[in-house]
Amino acid sequence: MGVAYKAVQWNRQKFVYDIILLTTVVFYLFFFEGISLHFSSDLDIKGIWIRAFGSAAFILLHVILSIGPLSRLSPKFLPLLYNRRHMGVTMFILALLHARDALAWYHDFGNLEPIVSLFVSNTHYADFIRFPFEALGGVALVILFLMAATSHDFWLTNLTAPVWKALHMGVYLAYGLLVGHVVLGALETNTHPLLTLAVGVGFVWIVGIHLITALREAQKDGAPLFGPPAQPKVDADGFVHVGSVQDIPENRAKIAVVAGERVAIFKYEGKISAISNVCQHQNGPLGEGKIVDGCITCPWHGYQYLPESGISPPPFTEKIPTFNVKLQGDQILVSAKPNLPGTPVVPAVIGQV
């Protein structure tokens, strides 16, 4: 949890995760080559590998992009999110191998440097149908490289979680570019309906599941689909009513939007505490976490914070903002003004007015 930047903090889950991931990739490539040669032993092997690497990366990208929204819809998918960065790096390596082979195969042995040839051989940048689809793949690869290169927690901490997260949101730009790369390249050449259908279904799935998740999140926040978000009613003492004690299961939280920010209000051992919903690690949703061993535990990677202070238990040092809380009967009121990260707050005791 950030006490030292060890290269990789391995554990059994990660080993199992990586073994399944890499075995699947190896078998995919092996089967792809075997089936291709079965249909025509005269196909050039380089061409087969270019397609195998490219399709493997594209399929894996769909899996990666599905995990986030699925985990928001059901915590059952959280184990897939746990080590998703390794999946991302694996996908980048597959994309890199695809690009390397394509660059060498199509652009080497000519009268220009291959990388120059990539961008100047086809220059119909203003033409949709004739557009040089290779450039779209090239730009996407740069984005994927930046993400893979900064995937380690060292970069997460030094860039700060919001910057790191914003950088990794670039995956959506990369996905858009790669859909264009595939549609204007492989699909324009190979118009088999099944291939077109597969890419279309993949695109609709990714967009659809993100929209559904976004709508559900907005619904939970009580935010309207259009127009400015509703402002919670702040009382004279600067507190906002966020619901009843009965709304919250033991050792769990209710997430409420207070002063434009999501706050996680936890119930545990007859007490109520409120902290920022945003984990310091990857900005995970702490309000979807649980109190484990007396600590609020993030559902994404198990980062922990003491509910009374928002500080990670020693020797860890992460801090998040806390909120003052009070009870009126069984109704919970949370201060609209966050305290500085790590500020101790006396929890509200249930049944004590």
């Binding site: 903090q9 554990n11 059994r12 889950q13 399944i20 995919y28 089967f31 792809f32 089936i35 291709s36 079965h38 249909f39 025509s40 005269d42 196909l43 050039d44 061409g47 397609r51 195998a52 399929i59 894996l60 819809l73 059901s74 915590p75 059952k76 998918f77 959280l78 184990p79 746990y82 195969w105 199509y106 652009h107 000519g110 009268n111 220009l112 990539l118 051989s121 086809n122 004739r130 040089p132 689809f133 390249g185 324009e188 050449t189 190979n190 088999h192 099944l194 291939l195 597969a198 939970k220 299961p249 769990r252 979807e288 976490g289 649980k290 484990v292 535990t297 559902p299 990677h301 198990g302």
Partner: protein, 254 residues
Amino acid sequence: MSRLDSHDEFFIGYLGVPPQLKRFLLGLIPVLVLGALAFAFILPPLHFDHFNLGKRTKVPEFEGLLVGEPSPHLLVPRTGDVGTVSDFSLYLLSGTGKTSPKPKVLEHVDKWVKLKGTPFHRNHLTVIATKSAEPIDRPTSGPTQPAEGSSLGEFSLKGEIVDGKCYPGVMKPGRTKTHRSCAIRCIAGGVPPVFVVHNSVGDKLYFLLSDLDGKAVNDKVLDRVADPVQITGEVVQYADAFVLKADPATYQLL
């Protein structure tokens, strides 16, 4: 918020997977893995142009007449009774990369040569990736002088310009947009451009391209490579090949 179950299981990566969640994953992960692997079986047969792909054959040496225009090619005399077909087979020539044959080869243009290289062929279109050529004496038997080209008239043909090296077999299938940049590099480097036309019954016809003076058009067709184009010009039969003579400026993008 949805919960796993009434026991409120909670996954923490470094602690292990709770039992009910483990059961869910034991169902989900195999489906996910098999789903991904299914694409390895579905995608390869969807690849276009699995048939009539080019082939590399091991014929190390050819003897014939080296001709320079419109693109370097070798005319190899046919032996035996050839009936009504041409006395010569025409083989396109390229270098070993995306290039024309080396200057040391081209200095023997209009001479009889023994030529070494790797032949690739697709249907009746053959290109030799030329390694070397040395002059030889004109043969004393068999056909030694190819006939002049004979005009078959003016035609308007729809097809695709490919490079005469990848398409015959170096790369497979070596055509359409995914191959455009490679074909441009090949043709810019001196590989003969070839116009591929499908006739009404689906047969492939190949035309060498030349300008109105019978000269090479390589640098003038780069902008039209791998696109559907219509070319109108005079078709001249030369040995067992067709040459389509037209001004590249008149090529029409379809």
